[in-house]
Symmetry: C2
Subunit: 347 residues, 2 copies
DNA sequence: TTGTAGGCGTTATCAA
DNA sequence: TTGATAACGCCTACAA
């Protein structure tokens, strides 16, 4: 009994077309096809080159990135780990990073932690196992081990918005101190002088800590302003309302500086429940520009983060490292932009 | 001069530890390790099993998914293509899908089109080249070819929210007609009887078309209501304002039904510019629940889509197909939930 | 300039 | 029950 004579043909039909198929069709060796693909410069006979070229076209051949990765150790994959995709800031950064990756011929593999910082190690390992060439991290970095291990393997890591304890890596972020100063100065200029900085509990998130510290520093250097810090926890809206009432009892020109969009949402909800009006009963500036900021109350003044640039720069840093750049960890801080609306209007 | 005697040691240090390292350490063959990993049932000598086990633990070995994918043709990767990550609906679906994937031991590879439908083919090919086992598509499907090719290769495709012309595939979506009926009936009950359905130009997006058609059907079956459809294009806010003014001129109880969150944003902006109040000058219901809906004006009534369930079900469909389920394309329609706020309040 | 052969890390087939 | 060995699709010395 003759065994089936056509296992290769069958395989080709079922699977995708491989370099061997191209080689056969062109009547050359696999090596020649590979060379044609990678280093066209290495003078191939024009005739052979065209033969290979048309075979590739005819078969619609594309190299398998997985096989390439396996062989060369490079995958043209960049891993992006986000603490929470639900966060518009992260999504905006993601888009910037994605564009930059695309332009450089890289593919972005996204891993979302869903705000479960336990999963960070798992995420990094998963990504590493797919041989991502580098990592962009917008995470807590509670578990320094995983990222450090990747870095030690010589794969560059870039941190966005959140530093990781002692990790040595490029870092790209909003200039938090500058943003706070801008916001605070704006509020003061508009006559709001009893300030409350509302933030999520810092829980080790560096950007939150930096913003609080910057706010305190701002107060110290502006004696004409009075201010306090309030940590708003997720479930407890009553505490926030009480705090706002006390704030208003303290001064005639009270204002809130919200440390991010999540807090802005909470403050806006509380203000609605209290029946107050932004820009009259309470001044307001929030970090993070959102599509809905113009629509809440009379419009909310915000500090817009350069999210697209953050994503692009993070990617750029990564690609430079990939290209061999070997300098100490860099820190890139970008300015926020004040978007004035009526929540901070002059008295 | 002796050449370096330890290329393997070096390679192991620089790269990751491989199955060969484990085999060596345990004093067995690679095949045995592989068997231990995959089919523990195939009775291994307990002693060998433990030896392998501890070698794996000692080395911290994890199999390389890429090598596995290369060998078995399966990658434990699911591809998700989104027309626009900026869309909160897509992100919410993404989260649901991601959870389901994680639970099943799959990794989600995200590709974002950035609303550039030209890139769909490119996205699908990129994903396919990484041997994703299946595809979840939340896209226009203008270019039927790419997805169809994947499907033809026996890789399941699931469509979310948007159908693709003639493509035969599982489809998971909001029950658009039901949602429109619910919203319309609610407005009528509350006394709003001069309706305007505002939508983005349909541009071949099936969900948009279905919603418009459902609205027309609703009008036809409710003679007491009067209504019209308005297509709002991205840049032209003036046209929308004019339309709203005409609407209000037509009837004493005018209301808008917004076909999604993008439109809700535009309508809210127009209403703010006109100085109107939702729930007084204009009734309102919008499809898509958002975090900011409670904060705009007196609170916006919405139809919340079961985004998490959509994502999970899409994944479930995919996994069933992967497991060999072979039935004709299914269509899974989920109900939306009416979230009543004051924008639709009774006269 | 082109082809042969070996190996990347796995799994699967076949002997032993 | 275990171990060689040959692929998977690709790249790259090295040889021709």
């Amino acid at each position: 009994m003759p065994t089936k004579p056509s296992p290769p043909a069958f395989a080709a039909a079922a699977g995708r077309t491989t370099i061997a198929d191209v080689a056969e069709k062109a009547g050359v060796s696999k090596a020649t096809v590979s060379r044609f693909l990678n280093r066209r410069d290495e003078l191939l006979t024009p005739e052979i080159a065209t033969r290979v070229e048309s075979a590739i076209a005819a078969l619609g051949y594309t190299p398998s990135p997985m096989a390439q990765a396996l062989k060369r150790g490079r995958s043209r994959l960049v891993g992006l780990v986000v603490a929470d995709v639900t966060n518009p800031f992260s999504v905006a950064v993601l888009r910037g990073a994605e564009k930059a990756c695309q332009e450089a011929g890289y593919l972005l593999m996204l891993f979302n932690l869903g705000d479960d910082s336990q999963r960070e190690r798992e995420a990094i390992q998963a990504l590493a196992s797919y041989h991502v060439e580098g990592l962009i991290l917008n995470t807590l970095g509670r578990d320094a081990g995983a990222a450090a291990a990747v870095a030690r393997q010589g794969r560059p890591v870039v941190l966005v918005d959140r530093r990781h304890g002692n990790m040595q890596a490029d870092f790209v972020s909003l200039d938090n101190a500058g943003a706070i100063r801008t916001a605070g100065a704006h509020l003061l200029e508009c006559g709001w002088d009893e300030l409350l900085f509302v933030t999520e509990p810092s829980e080790g998130v560096s950007s939150r800590e930096e913003r609080v510290a910057a706010f305190r520093a701002f107060l110290a250097s502006h004696p004409q302003a009075r201010g306090a810090v309030f940590e708003s926890v997720a479930g407890d809206s009553q505490a926030l309302e009480r705090e706002l009432q006390q704030l208003r009892a303290r001064g005639r020109r009270p204002a809130v500086l919200a440390s991010n969009a999540v807090i802005t949402l909470r403050v806006a909800a509380a203000v609605a429940r209290l029946g107050w009006n932004f820009g009259e009963d309470l001044g307001f500036v929030g970090i993070d520009e959102t599509e809905w900021a113009p629509l809440v109350g009379p419009g909310l003044t915000t500090i817009a983060q350069p999210t697209d640039a953050l994503g692009r720069l993070a990617t750029a840093c990564l690609l430079e490292r990939l290209a061999g750049l070997n300098v100490p960890p860099r820190q890139i801080l970008l300015q926020g932009e004040l978007v004035v609306r009526r929540s901070s209007r002059q008295a």
